[in-house]
């Protein structure tokens, strides 16, 4: 099925996400000059399938060649480091920007965002829409805080969670508890939170790795399990029921994994994007790598699984490339 690719010319990819509403849309957050300085670009991309009769159809299957076509793009003042689709409105998505702002976009509109929130004092590193409760989203920032937002809440963020010291790279919602999420950061720690906890204190906090923890994601089928990746060159699998007990570790490898995502179709697989310029699929039961996509020619920073086609993955990286490919999910 590969090569199925798109180039975000002039902008280095940081994040790519499939739409939760249709298999025809995906979006990428990218930044000029490797994200160090300059503008950001949010690209809305449409995927179409060319069948053997060479006519375009509206949906793609795993075995048909896929084309990625640009539908829309929006440029921002500062770089963009993450994005998340609105779980309630199919045309909306949010982006996380280097100037501390978060934008809400409607893809039926051509230029400006429909809302913009500027509260974080530093780069917003991640945003994630709550996919169970669907009304709220999280942002995590280099200013050390995680913020909870609700778009109907006009005054700004609903709550701020400030316990990390240093950059909070990722905040991710629990798939089971609508009020719970986990965060990880530069301070090497992992924290579990509840939006219901008094005074916004974390439920649990533990040293996760021997260096910065850059990515975190929850197992969608075993909701006590989550995975983290770190600049200590390892991936660790955690169980919230036994946080100080045994942890499973893969690695250390040569290069850190920058982003890790559990598969929406199976409890056993994670997709990773890393500084080794590859996107890979791992079986968490034994730490074996079941698939490697090594077509990128620069660091791979973004990765996401399709919600419609088991095993379909999108990746993006500093080579300005977005790739969509299929990975087998063996039993």
């Amino acid at each position: 099925m590969f090569p199925c690719k798109y180039r975000t010319a002039g902008f280095k990819g940081y994040a790519v996400k499939f739409s939760p509403f249709t298999d025809r849309l995906l979006a990428s957050a990218a930044s000029a000059n490797f994200g160090l300085i300059g503008n950001g670009r949010l690209s809305i991309l449409a995927t179409t399938t060319t069948n053997t009769n060479n006519s375009r159809t509206q949906s793609n299957t795993n075995n048909s060649p896929l084309t990625i076509l640009p539908q829309q793009h929006y440029d921002t003042q500062d770089g963009l480091f993450d994005l998340s689709w609105n779980e309630l409105h199919e045309n909306q998505l949010i982006s996380a920007s280097g100037d501390g702002s978060i934008q809400l976009w409607d893809i039926t509109l051509k230029t400006h965002p429909v809302a913009k929130w500027k509260e974080h004092k530093r780069e917003v590193m991640s945003v994630e829409w709550n996919y169970t409760a669907k009304t709220a989203f999280l942002s995590s920032s280099w200013d050390g805080s995680v913020k909870l937002w609700n778009p109907v809440h006009a005054q700004g963020s609903v709550q701020t969670f400030s316990e990390h010291t240093g950059c909070v790279y990722t905040a991710a919602w629990s798939p089971r508890h609508q009020d719970q999420f986990a965060s990880c950061g530069e301070d090497k720690s992992i924290r579990l939170w509840s939006t219901n906890a008094p005074q916004g204190r974390s439920i649990a906090s533990f040293g996760g790795h021997t260096d910065q923890v850059v990515s975190l994601d929850w197992n969608k089928y075993s909701p006590d399990m989550f995975v983290t990746s770190s600049t200590d060159r390892t991936i660790k699998i955690w169980d919230t029921r036994n946080l100080r007990g045994s942890v499973t570790m893969f690695g250390p490898f040569e290069f850190p994994v920058r982003r890790v995502k559990f598969c929406p179709f199976s409890p056993h697989f994670i997709a990773t994007a890393g500084y080794d310029m590859s996107a890979s699929v791992w079986d968490v039961r034994n730490g074996s790598v079941t698939f490697v996509h090594d077509a990128h020619t620069e660091f791979v920073f973004g990765i996401d699984w399709s919600y419609f086609h088991p095993g379909q993955i999108a990746s993006c990286g500093w080579d300005e490339q977005i790739h969509v490919f299929n990975a087998p999910l063996p039993q």
């Binding site: 045994s246 570790m249 250390p252 850190p256 920058r258």
Partner: protein, 419 residues
């Protein structure tokens, strides 16, 4: 700001690599111990194994390991056996023992001699061979029949040694009898006889208590063997306990013994390790392999270190080897839950406990070689079985085995229980 972002990316690429083996962390490539098992230890020439040969002892414990773990013997690639005294380094008798135990001839066998640490070195050799990918599954073992191969009539040092070699510094120290090295440690570090006797009595008390409460049951594999009475008549017996333990020993009673190695010395038969017979074996493989084979995991091998020290005070070895292995793992002494410190002599054991600042309650909680004996090549493997079962019993995690080594060395290893 651009410079901060650049620094951040650089920090990702320069992050400190995590250690491959960590306490509390399970990795598919961890070297794990399925089981560590030992025979009872008996007094040389007088105890239950006095008419038992070393290949029978070793063969029996290897058989016991197969029986207890249910592993298919054809899966074992290599067996490394530590032993000190036997002729030819015990290489042929080790091969015989493996075949007797039921291993096919496709299972290789080797022996190793690092004196008192041979059993541990054997386990470490197997661990390293698995890590390096040379083998998949291995057994590290140790055996010594000091009845058969130790004593004035047996030569461990040749009659003829080159004069030129003997004149080099410290070379003559290599043939100082072990008891005299103990006296050197006593004198040089001012360890009074009373402290040594108190330590020796503690070893007996702890071992006696452990025997009474059945703490050794899990690590001991009983041995069916024959014993001859003074008329040469043979009877079959089952040996299932260490017979060197003296529950009635006290510091006072031990204080009455005469110095054994020098006229006004402090080392006696009572505060030195006993001369003994015994064997032990440890089954190792990667965690991923154990999972594939459906085998239980008793513990994990974390790290090992060896340190050289002056031969004339060889007893100080652990005081150097333990810090070396702690440095490798980033652990501190306080993080060790149990320490199996071989009691070659009370003098050096006390010296090491004090120098390392060990909590005496964490050292040899089931007693040590002074109480139940030190079959030379067996001890290093034996300590692992004693350590892992005790970590489980106390519901603790991190343990260290260590010993001094004749010739001037110390060796230490860290294990984590996975009960």
């Amino acid at each position: 700001m651009a410079s901060f972002r650049l620094t951040q990316v650089a920090s990702h690429l320069n992050g400190t690599k995590a250690p491959r083996t960590q306490i509390g962390v399970q990795s598919p490539d961890d070297i794990i111990i399925v089981q560590a098992l030992r025979t009872p230890i008996t007094r040389a020439r007088k105890g239950g194994f006095k008419d038992t040969t070393s290949e029978y002892l070793l063969g029996t414990i290897l058989r016991g390991l197969l029986e207890r773990t249910h592993i298919d013997p054809t899966l074992v690639d290599d067996i490394c056996v530590g032993n000190v005294c036997p002729p030819g380094g015990g290489a042929t008798t080790a091969r015989m023992a493996a075949l007797y135990a039921g291993f096919p001839n496709t299972t290789s066998v080797q022996t190793v001699n690092r004196q008192c640490s041979s059993g541990l070195q054997a386990v470490v050799h197997i661990a390293h061979a698995i890590q390096a990918g040379m083998i998949d599954v291995g057994i590290g073992a140790g055996v010594e029949s000091m009845t058969q191969f130790y004593g004035p009539q047996h030569k461990l040092i040749p009659d003829t040694i080159s004069d030129e070699v003997m004149e080099a510094p410290q070379v003559a120290d290599c043939i100082i009898p072990m008891g005299l090295t103990s006296e050197n440690v006593s004198a040089e570090f001012c360890i009074p006889r009373s402290k040594q006797d108190a330590f020796a009595a503690l070893s007996h008390q702890r071992a006696a208590r452990a025997q009474k409460l059945g703490y050794f049951n899990e690590e001991i594999y009983p041995v069916r063997t024959k014993i001859a009475d003074k008329d040469g008549k043979e009877t079959e017996i089952i040996v299932d306990r260490d017979d060197g333990v003296r529950p009635e020993a006290t510091a006072e009673s031990l204080g009455k013994l005469r110095a054994a190695f020098s006229a006004d010395g402090a080392t006696t038969a009572g505060n030195a390790s006993q001369v003994s017979d015994g064997a032990a074996a440890v089954l190792l493989m990667k965690r991923s392999r154990a999972k594939e084979l459906g085998l239980p995991i008793q513990g994990k091998f974390v790290a090992s270190a060896v340190a050289g020290v002056p031969p004339r005070i060889m007893g100080v070895g652990p005081a150097y080897a333990v810090p070396a292995v702690l440095k490798k793992t980033g652990l501190t002494v306080a993080q060790l839950d149990i320490i199996e410190l071989n009691e070659a002599f009370a003098s050096q054991a006390v010296y090491c406990v004090e120098t390392l600042g060990l909590d005496i309650n964490k050292v040899n909680p089931k007693g040590g070689a002074i109480a139940f004996g030190h079959p030379l090549g067996c001890t290093g493997a034996r300590q692992i079985s004693t350590l892992l079962t005790e970590l489980k019993r106390q519901d603790k995690r991190v343990g260290c085995t260590t010993m001094c080594i004749g010739g001037g060395f110390g060796m230490a290893a860290i294990f984590e229980s996975e009960h």
